[in-house]
């Protein structure tokens, strides 16, 4: 039984009347069923628990109703998109097919499509939109911090903004960062025609979009005051906007876990002949390592949030001291997910970086095995360090030496990546195309991020910096300086392949330089601010820190402006100018550049056979002794 067999019925002709096309399983139906499900859940919730009003603002504070509303809304949305069709038809004994893959035209980008290339582009635009919303939140946060007392948005809205910014960036953008490039390129790079589970692949994307919508809807329910960590008991105390956070992150957790399973299955079982583990492109290795973390860490998040929602709805006491629970439990569970999660944000960056460097240095990847073991080492160790987030919390204080050790040990495999970067650059022929500029910026940014991490991993030193702007600067250096810079490298590198169109290069260079300079000018001073005593997530701070904060805010606005340059470039180049890209503009030897543009629906006419890794650059060195050998022997 082959699932790749094309369906017997030919694709329907596309020129049906508009009203006929609006019927059926598509985004419109999905939205209608989603809204319907939302109100159904709201109604059932009120039947179960009755309305409970907040006396101060007279808003309906029914957690049960809101959580059920979100649940039914998401289910309705997914049914509307057609995710129930396949399981139902299999239950009824109908034959399996991948009909969703055969769609044509622009419409396939707005629904359930099992073509991994469509899903990749859906992800790119989808998480890109939320990246910009999250960025706008950051701009508002910096506007508020221009002054040392709450002036612009007020403390409540400020906390909501901080929470939205952090949660959106973590959940919607960086956790989904595998989405665009891994979905698009992993099957091509390993010589497969599709992902292992194409419907689940589409499901991960639409779950993420539903989650993003739910997170954004928190503004109608009072926002949430906890930041992205959602610590108890503040979580339990918060208004119903908190339920949006819980529902959002649980959905993201499900989406991440499914994405991880799909990637693991694809990489393990769908490699073309000759694509051995030691020939796997390093980007695919990074996706593999990330997927392991996703599969193991994300379920913990979902379980934690389920407990939190039970605490909020039916007054269980998992995290409540008075009832026998403990907020420590939440901190432990959250960071057991949360710390591996931050490597979910680092590893794809490593992969993109090491994938791109050989192309622009015209050398093979230096230390392939070292790089792979570095990534796998980070993956393994990432599960043993989470309590360094709790150095001053008083929990397991005697275990602090262990967590210091494990945290500092993790810098050894991370150091491998640096060595591989340096080895690949050594005596290369570096050309400074835009993707390469972003990669070189990674080296500097991640170095600062990593070295500041050593200060934080050291418990005595962490006493001063814990929970301060120092931490904030540290993780922005690793996530923004590490992941987002390589993400932009990947955009400039691969989008010409994905769309067949090229970016305007001088705008791209403006984007890079403005972003690199303003990024450092924004986040370097934050180290100083943290050490001078500015805690995270505050809307009022010591008056002597106003000067530095104003500097940071202005730099942040320039950083935001550099993103506008990118946005302008994307719209201008990809929608208006539409200058076709060269078939292989970077002279890459990787297989994705050898396929036609646009990549055919089934990727390859014939499954390719691999006999080498894709880093066959450079002139071979003369073997030692060959020149000295006499000609006659």
């Amino acid at each position: 039984m082959s699932t790749t067999t094309a369906s017997a019925s030919a694709p329907q002709p596309t020129h049906r009347p508009l009203w006929r096309r609006a019927l059926g399983f598509n985004l419109l139906t999905a939205v209608l069923l989603g809204v319907g499900g939302y109100y159904l859940g709201w109604f059932i919730g009120h039947q179960i628990s009755g309305p409970s009003f907040n006396y101060e603002s007279a808003t309906d504070e029914n957690d049960v109703a809101l959580l059920l509303a979100y649940f039914f809304g998401v289910v309705g949305f997914l049914i509307g998109l057609g995710f129930a069709n396949y399981p139902l038809s299999r239950l009824l004994g109908r034959p399996a097919s991948l009909r969703e893959k055969e769609q044509e035209g622009i419409g396939r980008y707005f629904g359930l499509c099992t073509d991994h290339k469509v899903v990749g582009l859906q992800y790119l635009v989808g998480i890109g939109v939320f990246f910009f919303i999250g960025g706008l939140n950051a701009m508002l946060i910096r506007t508020e911090l221009l002054h040392d007392t709450p002036t612009v948005v007020g403390p409540n809205q400020y906390l909501s903004l901080v929470g939205m910014h952090g949660t959106m960036m973590m959940g919607m953008f960086t956790s989904g960062v595998l989405g665009p490039f891994a979905n698009y390129f992993v099957p091509i790079m390993i010589g497969a025609r599709r992902m292992a589970f194409p419907r689940i692949e589409s499901l991960t994307f639409w779950l993420l979009m539903a989650a993003g919508f739910i997170l954004t809807s928190t503004i109608f329910f009072g926002g949430f005051p906890t930041g992205w960590t959602g610590y108890e008991p503040l979580n339990d105390q918060a208004v119903i906007g908190m339920d949006s956070y819980i529902c959002f992150f649980a959905l993201v957790g499900v989406s991440m876990c499914l994405l991880g399973v799909n990637m693991l299955a694809t990489i393990m079982t769908m490699r073309a002949p000759g694509m051995t583990w030691s020939r796997l492109p390093i980007f695919v290795w990074s996706v593999f390592a990330t997927a392991v973390i996703l599969v193991l860490a994300a379920p913990v998040l979902v379980a934690t949030l389920l407990m939190a929602s039970l605490d909020r709805t039916i007054d269980t006491s998992f995290f409540i001291v008075g009832g026998g629970g403990s907020p420590y439990l939440f901190e432990n569970l959250f960071w057991f997910f949360g710390h591996p999660e931050v490597y979910v944000l680092a590893l794809p960056g490593f992969g993109i970086l090491l994938e791109l460097l050989p192309v622009f240095a015209r050398k093979p990847l230096w230390g392939y095995r070292l790089a792979v073991s570095g990534m796998l080492g980070v993956t393994l160790l990432s599960f043993f360090v989470w309590q360094h987030h709790l150095f001053v919390s008083g929990i397991n204080a005697d275990l602090r030496p262990f967590y210091m050790l494990s945290t500092e040990i993790i810098s050894i495999p991370t150091g491998f990546i640096f060595l591989c970067v340096m080895g690949t650059l050594w005596k290369g022929r570096i050309s400074f195309a835009v993707p390469m500029l972003f990669c070189l910026a990674w080296v500097f940014n991640f170095l600062i991020g990593g070295l500041s991490g050593v200060f934080l991993s050291d418990a005595p030193s962490d006493t001063g910096t814990h929970g301060s702007f120092f931490v904030m600067a540290h993780f922005h250096y690793t996530i923004m300086g590490g992941l987002i810079f390589t993400f932009f490298a990947a955009i400039y590198y691969w989008v010409p392949k994905m769309t067949g169109l090229r970016f305007n290069e001088s705008l791209a260079k403006w984007h890079f330089w403005l972003m690199f300079i303003s990024f450092n000018s924004t986040f370097l001073p934050l180290f100083a601010l943290g050490m001078k005593g500015m805690p995270r997530r505050v809307s009022s701070y010591a008056p002597n820190l106003v000067g530095l904060n104003v500097w940071v805010s202005i730099s942040a606005f320039v950083l935001g402006f550099s993103m506008l340059i990118f946005l302008f470039n994307a719209v201008y180049s990809l929608i208006f100018v539409r200058e076709p890209a060269a078939a292989n503009p970077w002279h890459s030897k990787s297989i994705e550049w050898q396929t036609p543009t646009p990549v055919p629906v089934h990727n390859f006419e014939q499954i390719p056979v691999f006999d080498a890794d894709p880093y066959d650059y450079g002139t071979p060195l003369p073997l030692a002794g060959t020149q000295a050998a006499p000609a006659g022997t």
Binding site: Y368, P401, P460, L621
Partner: protein, 276 residues
């Protein structure tokens, strides 16, 4: 044109830069590193930070100088299509790198562990039963955090509770930090103290202020809308001034102290929940 010996040239540049920059970093940046010399613990943290800085400087220089060196020396000529050498690794370099980074990391972890234990938790929250406890007399002070203020209780002075934090200079202080509602974090910035305030938990930290001063107290864990406004000043005063002050407080708050629970080193009230 013969290719220069890049490895030697880079090595010399890095060595010279390290030999210049590391002492400069220690001498110039070391003294201004936070949290300063407000307490024994703070001074010890400055030492730790300086050691980390001294370790980080050569690494920073190594990578940054390497990056600059490569960008300058290993460029593709304009319009060129040259290929680099097809080198795929070097066992000696890799082994050296692994050994050196491992040694660096292990020595840092060992150093930090020793410092943490010899300095009684380095001013950070060490849980209800700290592993190492300073000998000699200690002044217990209970810090009770709630949304959005700190209250300070002096168990050895009749359990008086006051909104002001005053400590005698030169006296080892035993802080017991707890919370009435959500998680807070007690941060006495210039004293180098940071202790999470968890509801239902007695989190202990030790600090010995070394000079008369005013220090900032802030909440360092997000605790709701007025988290940023949860700050105050504390004072380190001479022992005689402390005696005068605490007796004054005892008189002022005598009516309130009568209603408080009887003496205990810990004081863990029931946290409140939403809707109660």
């Amino acid at each position: 044109m013969s290719e220069p010996n890049h490895a030697r040239r880079f090595g010399v540049i890095w060595l010279v830069a390290t030999l210049i920059a590391t002492p400069l970093a220690i001498l110039l940046l070391g003294p201004i590193l936070p949290p300063g010399n407000g307490s024994e613990q703070a001074s010890e943290q400055v030492t730790d930070n300086t050691v980390l800085l001294a370790m980080a400087t050569p690494v920073l220089l190594l990578v940054v100088i390497y990056l600059i060196y490569s960008v300058i020396c290993f460029r593709q000529p304009k319009g060129g299509a040259l290929e680099g050498p097809a080198v795929r690794g070097d066992a000696r370099v890799q082994t050296t790198w692994i050994v050196v980074t491992s040694l660096l990391v292990l020595s840092l972890a060992t150093f930090a562990t020793v410092r943490l234990e010899t300095d009684y938790g380095s001013g950070s929250g060490s849980g209800p039963t700290p592993l190492t406890v300073p000998k000699g007399p200690k002044l217990p002070v209970q810090v009770i955090a709630q949304q959005w203020k700190f209250t300070f209780r002096y168990p050895t002075y009749g359990g008086v509770e006051t909104p002001h934090l005053v400590l005698p200079v030169g006296q080892m202080v035993e802080l017991h930090v707890t919370s009435l509602d959500v998680i807070h974090s007690f941060w006495a910035i210039q004293l180098g103290v940071k202790v999470d305030a968890n509801p239902g938990v007695d989190n202990v930290a030790f600090v010995r202020p070394t000079r008369v001063q005013t220090f900032e107290v802030r909440c360092s864990e997000l605790c709701g809308i007025w988290h940023g406004a949860m700050f105050d000043y504390g004072h380190v005063v001479t022992p005689s001034a402390f005696k005068t002050w605490i007796h004054q407080e005892q008189v002022t708050f005598a009516p309130a102290t009568k209603l408080l629970p009887p003496y205990s080193t810990t004081y863990v009230p029931n946290p409140t929940r939403r809707g109660e």
